[in-house]
């Protein structure tokens, strides 16, 4: 029985995860696909031609989104790592309150916060700007980085840093040559999370960026309303590629082979 069930469940699982992708892949190359047909009658690369049109919205969306997500990834990882280290390694006044505040965006609906923030952003001229969108994207990303990095730093032995100091290394050298290599897996996973969250963020971008900042999800939504499913399919595939590339380079740190990332620890 075991011999039958295992491949069966695995098959169902794979089907469950990948079937939606399958239909998107087919749509992206279909020139027309009507209801009773199992497969499209004709195929075309029109979807991809439009997607990769240098002057088209999709490619520009990819560029905007990549720029924003990379920046958000770097800033969120930097800020969140510092906060995560503080939570994991130091005791200070109001630590509980600090932890709550840092993690609050995970609980409080982002939409509610953004409504309030929008007024401030308009006041300071951040509304409808890329800078404003980046700032807004830090709200949902930093808490994840803090969670990952506080787990990483909880497993980090500060004695390594002291060992570096007593061998004559400055704080900067200790950070660069000793601490960063040890917590690198945590940083990689943090960056991946921050990138992916920023990459697929829609509501915050819509509210803060308005029509001015056209990230890929904004473009994709516009296409969805247009009901050209070939184009939506192709754009969706394009949408998937950057996170997959990033996952390819960070996945080894995700599957627990690395001792420094032990789940979302300590918070």
């Amino acid at each position: 029985m075991k011999l039958i069930f295992r491949p069966l469940f695995l098959g169902i699982f794979i089907f469950w995860i990948f079937f939606p992708f399958l239909s998107i892949i087919i749509w992206s190359v279909a020139a027309g696909w009507r209801f009773p047909d199992l497969l499209p009658e004709r195929y075309s690369m029109r979807g991809y031609a439009v997607s990769f049109d240098p002057n088209g919205d999709i490619l520009r969306g990819v560029i905007t989104s990549t720029g924003i997500a990379l920046t958000v990834g770097v800033i969120a990882t930097a800020i969140g790592s510092a906060a995560g280290r503080a939570i994991a390694m130091y005791n200070f006044k109001m630590k509980k309150a600090f932890q709550f505040l840092v993690l609050a965006p995970l609980i409080v609906p982002g939409l509610a916060v953004t409504m309030g923030i929008q007024i401030l952003f308009i006041k300071y001229g951040l509304s409808d700007t890329v800078r404003g969108v980046i700032l807004a994207h830090l709200i949902p990303t930093i808490p994840y980085v803090v969670m990952i990095m506080s787990g990483t730093f909880a497993n980090f032995d500060r004695a390594y840093e002291e060992q570096g100091q007593v061998l004559g290394a400055s704080r900067a050298t200790v950070l660069r040559k000793i601490t960063l290599p040890i917590v690198l897996p945590g940083l990689a996973v943090s960056f991946l999370f921050a990138f992916v969250i920023s990459w697929s963020e829609y509501i915050l971008t819509l509210l803060v960026g308005g029509a001015a900042v056209k990230t890929l999800p904004m473009v994709l939504f516009a296409f969805l309303r247009g009901s050209d499913l070939t184009l939506v399919g192709a754009a969706s595939i394009v949408f998937l590629i950057p996170p997959l590339i990033l996952l390819r380079f960070t996945s080894k740190h995700l599957v627990g082979r690395s001792s420094s990332v032990t789940g979302l620890g300590s918070v």
Binding site: D157, A159, Y160, Q163, V166, L167, A169, T173
Partner: protein
């Protein structure tokens, strides 16, 4: 001889908890001095203050008359080895050993050659390209030592570097540390809780207890002339009698004992169990005792006896260690003889 390290009235508290209560210690340049004490006595904290990893609440640290208090850790002429080897996991053994050279402002050109020489010195030739995980505990600790020595420190600080190793390796490594110390021009502070370790390799021992420096002396003095009851007990003296000095004798509850030296003050007498002897008959320096029990301690026999007090109705317990394998019976009367110059009056009771 100039002063290698001077620790001037160091006090340290963590919150309201005093850990060091005014430590004064002068270490002669070029010596290996052990800071000995049981866990929690403050010895590691003292070493961390010398290293600059911890800030003293008050007091000063000098290296060769130069005040260190405002010098940051990385600028002090030290190198330190901890209990754990702490080899940097992202680097090879060679890169670990070369760490201080690469971290310096002007890295020398012959790093590889110097690393190999240093690895040979710690008996690990050809290990440069290996990774930290591939080494045994003793090897890791030798790499850690090599990495510290590479900095060419004026002061080498060792914080229980052998505690994590197993017993045989510890004996081998402590002799090795002494050899290494002798082949470099440096002053070494060696923190340990192991009395034997400290006795074997040190020029002098600084014995600490509850944040106080109890005695600072050459190793043999801790056995022959302990300065306090705590020192006597820690170094294995099992007979400490209270009493008073009367001329050249010491009056205890069970009688008076002749002293070999003149003592002006002190209310405790230390008589080491191996300095006492069991004799069949009475002699000039002896007292009568009753056997309570006995047991073998290694190749010797430890006899627990009682002496009836002359001043009150209680009994005083005496331990004698003898290498004579005689058949003792419980309640048997024996004579315990002593030599007056082996008795030592302690002038501090704590």
């Amino acid at each position: 001889m100039n002063t290698g390290i001077k620790i001037d009235n160091i006090e340290k508290s963590f919150g309201t908890n005093p850990v060091l209560k005014g430590i004064n210690l002068e270490v002669t340049s070029g010596q290996l001095v052990s800071i000995l004490g049981s866990s929690g006595c403050g010895k590691t904290t003292l070493l961390r203050i010398v290293a600059g990893l911890e800030r003293a609440t008050s007091g000063h640290v000098y290296f060769d008359e130069e005040l260190q208090d405002l010098i940051t850790v990385e600028k002090r002429a030290i190198a330190m080895v901890f209990q754990k080897a702490l080899l940097f996991p992202s680097m090879t053994i060679g890169e670990n050993v070369a760490f201080s050279l690469r971290a310096s402002k002007n890295p020398p050109k012959d790093i590889d050659k110097r690393v190999e020489e240093m690895l040979e010195l710690v008996k690990l030739p050809g290990f440069a390209s290996r990774r930290p995980g591939e080494l045994s505990g003793g090897q890791e600790q030798r790499v850690s030592l090599a990495r510290a020595l590479m900095r060419n420190p004026k002061v080498l600080l060792l914080d229980e570097p052998l505690s994590a190793l197993d017993a045989n390796l510890r004996v081998e490594m402590r002799n090795f540390i002494r050899e290494i110390h002798d082949s470099f021009e440096m002053t070494t502070l060696f923190v340990t809780h192991d009395q034997e370790e400290a006795m074997t390799i040190s020029d002098k021992i600084a014995f600490m207890e509850s944040g106080v420096l109890e005695q600072y002396d050459v190793p043999e003095s801790f056995v022959s002339t302990p300065e306090s009851r705590k020192v006597a007990k820690f170094f294995g003296c099992r007979n400490v009698f209270s009493g008073t000095i009367v001329g050249d004798t010491f009056e205890t509850a069970f009688g008076s004992l002749a002293l070999g030296k003149n003592y002006s003050r002190g209310s405790l007498l230390a008589a080491r169990q191996e300095d006492l002897q069991v004799t069949l008959g009475k002699s000039k320096y002896s007292f009568e005792a009753t056997v309570v029990s006995w047991q073998f301690v290694g190749s010797r026999i430890s006899i627990q006896c009682e002496i009836a007090n002359s001043s009150n109705r209680e009994k005083t317990e005496v331990i004698v260690e003898s290498d004579r394998f005689a058949d003792f019976k419980v309640n048997e009367k024996i004579f315990i003889s002593y030599s007056p110059d082996r008795l030592h009056v302690i002038n501090r009771d704590n």
